[in-house]
């Protein structure tokens, strides 16, 4: 049973936005939308998080920062890009320092467009992210022996075929 969908903790980072989406993210935590009822907790700490909720785009200064935060999050993890700036750079796209959306720095799993993205869209995006998370968790949970077998199949197909032929005999 995958507990990760019952207890997704997120870390929120703002790349280069107007903070409008950040305020909408905070609104999700308020009693009106109350994401805590899904077990979602905004820990500010990447080492404790499962979901990397990013707003804003990537610029030359925050490129290494975003990468470093992403690396500190333990597997399984998903990245949810909230707002148009995070998806593609938004209104700041053509600025001299902007590199684009978050996918220029890290692999993004869910895109939530909007300027600013509404809390309902954000929650929807997080729920979609949860299903991606569950798949990743299942992939991680494949037992070691099976993984070894899969690897053997890929790297040494003749050996694997020989083994199954022998087993067949």
């Amino acid at each position: 049973m995958s507990y990760i969908t019952k207890s997704p903790w997120l870390v929120h980072y703002d790349g280069s936005s107007c903070n409008g989406c950040d305020i909408e993210v905070l609104a999700c935590l308020t009693p009106l939308y109350d994401v805590e009822r899904f077990g979602i907790v905004n820990t500010g700490n990447p080492k404790h998080a499962d979901i990397f909720l990013v707003t804003g785009g990537v610029n030359t200064q925050n490129l290494p920062v975003v990468k470093q935060i992403y690396e500190q999050i333990p597997e399984p993890k998903v990245v949810i890009a909230v707002g148009t700036c995070a998806c593609s750079g938004g209104v700041f796209h053509d600025c001299y320092n902007m590199l684009g959306g978050m996918d220029k720095a890290i692999p993004v799993d869910v895109y939530v467009p909007g300027c600013a993205a509404r809390p309902e869209s954000i929650i929807d995006g997080v729920v979609k992210g949860l299903s991606v998370l569950e798949e990743k968790q299942k992939a991680l949970a494949v037992p070691a022996r099976e993984k070894q077998a899969l690897r053997e199949k890929e790297l040494e197909p003749e050996m694997a075929i020989n083994k199954s032929q022998e087993a067949g005999k």
């Binding site: 080492k47 290494p64 470093q68």
Partner: protein
Amino acid sequence: MSLFALLIGVPLIAAFLVFCLRGNGARNVIVPLASAVTMGLSVAAAVKFFGHPEFFKLAAPELPMVIMALDIIAAVVILYYTLVRFKRPWIALLELVQLGAVFWFEKTVGHSIDIAANIAIDNFAMIMVLIVGIIGSLIAVFSLGYMEEFQKEHRDVEDRRPFFFFVIFLFLSAMFGLVISNNLLLMYTCWEITSLCSFLLIGYTQTEEAINNSFKALWMNLLGGMAFAIAIVWLGLEYSTVELSMLVNLGRSSEPVNLAVALLVFCGFTKAAMMPFSGWLLGAMVAPTPTSALLHSSTMVKAGVFLIIKLCPILGANHTGLMTMFVGGATFLFASCAAISQSDGKKVLAYSTISNLGLIVCCAGIGSYEAAWTAIMIIVFHAVAKSLMFLSVGTAEQQLESRNIENFDGMFCSMPRLSLCMIIGICGMFLAPFGMLISKWAAMKAFVDAGHPLLLLVLVFGSSTTLFYWTKWLGKITAFIPAKENLEEGIHGVQWIALRVLSALTIITCILFPGISQYGVIPYLEVTYQTNMDVIARSNLLIMSMMVILLVVLPLRFGKGRKQKQVVTNLAGENSGDNLSYRGAAGQTIPVTLRNWYMEKWFGEAKMKLCGFILCGSCLLIEFAIILGGAFHV
């Protein structure tokens, strides 16, 4: 008896040999040999006399002459330093008055006093012999390596190593004499010799600071010596005895010996650096580390509390007991608080020593069976752990060129074996299940049974503040900073011997705690208090021993387990990659510096000293006024 003659004689002979044969090679042979022999003799003496207390008359008519001669020699040396070398006439006056008093006493009344026993051997004295013999020898051996490095580093300090070792061995000899004497005149002589040794060793580097601090130590200790002398004279005149055991018996039969007891306790206060006389111990930290380890934590200051504990049965509910409790308790609390605001490693250790001595004195002042048990157990554990700590800090100082705790971070990776010794020392000082903690447990029981609520307050707050500064230090050492190089190469083999043996001893004494209590301390208390009981239930002591074993075994699990992916620390995503610096504003790389809390406004040294000095000083004045009034009433 010949065993004790050897015990005193061997270090004495070694002292003269080391002084005369000035070469390094000769010293490197004599010191380990003498230390090993001394250690062996101490263990032999303990094995022979544990459980068999005895009094020796030592009826030699030359003994008073020998004592007087030693007194005069010591006085001459002191006068030489205070009048000829350096101008300190008041201290010279102090010494002359004392010498005069004792001399006059011996000439007029002393030689007609009949002495039943000059030497008293009991379990407590044997415990002290073991401490001096084992720890003292180890420190002497350690000094061989340490002082060699010291002289190399401090080229401006004259190389007086023969003199250094001479004084160390002389001191060991005097300590042995001190703990076995029952004759107060003999004890007084040994006492003065230890004061002299301390003075000579503190001033070893001959810098201005060292000289000033050595004279501070000298006059405070001489003040105590004066009190000792007056006590001897008074006791001899009033009751025609110079024996400690007689004094205790007189006190037990409710004779008004309060004045003598109070004076002796005061003498113990100055030697054990109770407030307001704690300044000399802090100043003594300028001395080379072996001095601090030997004199100013494990042995000489223990002589002060040794005397007070010997007087334990006649303290308690009377004014002397109240004075002892109060001064000890206040010292314990305020020294412990002051240690929080210090970052110099040796100063923290000094304050910790003063604090623990204060606790011992407080227990001694209560005078009950439980309190005496606690006091003796604290002596044992404190001596072992504190000497280990001083030696570790000294070694670290040599390798790191600094003894500021803030510079000890990452020691776990750059000097793993040394930091392990230091960690054992720190844990041994305050953590359950080690011995000091058990002693604090017993102290709580003793204090609550004695019915003094203020003391309870002192104990609980003192324990908490103690926890603070030790854990701070522990955290600093265990900070994991992968080291570029191992800094342990320069440490001599002899230093490792001392460090490792003391670490092992810290752990072994904790595991053997029930045994030490059962076979070492309780027999002494049985004789003294005519009763026998377990202060802490045997089962609890066994649980503690098992926990120590668990703690020793547990680190074997260090580093085992699932493979972990290495990630950087959270520096808001701006970590440079090595955890040691981060990308700051305007493109600068800023190093990560972490500093402990010192809480100067709350626990500042000046504030704590003021509180402690005022409280203890006023207590001393008031209590002495009452006691003197009582004495003259008769």
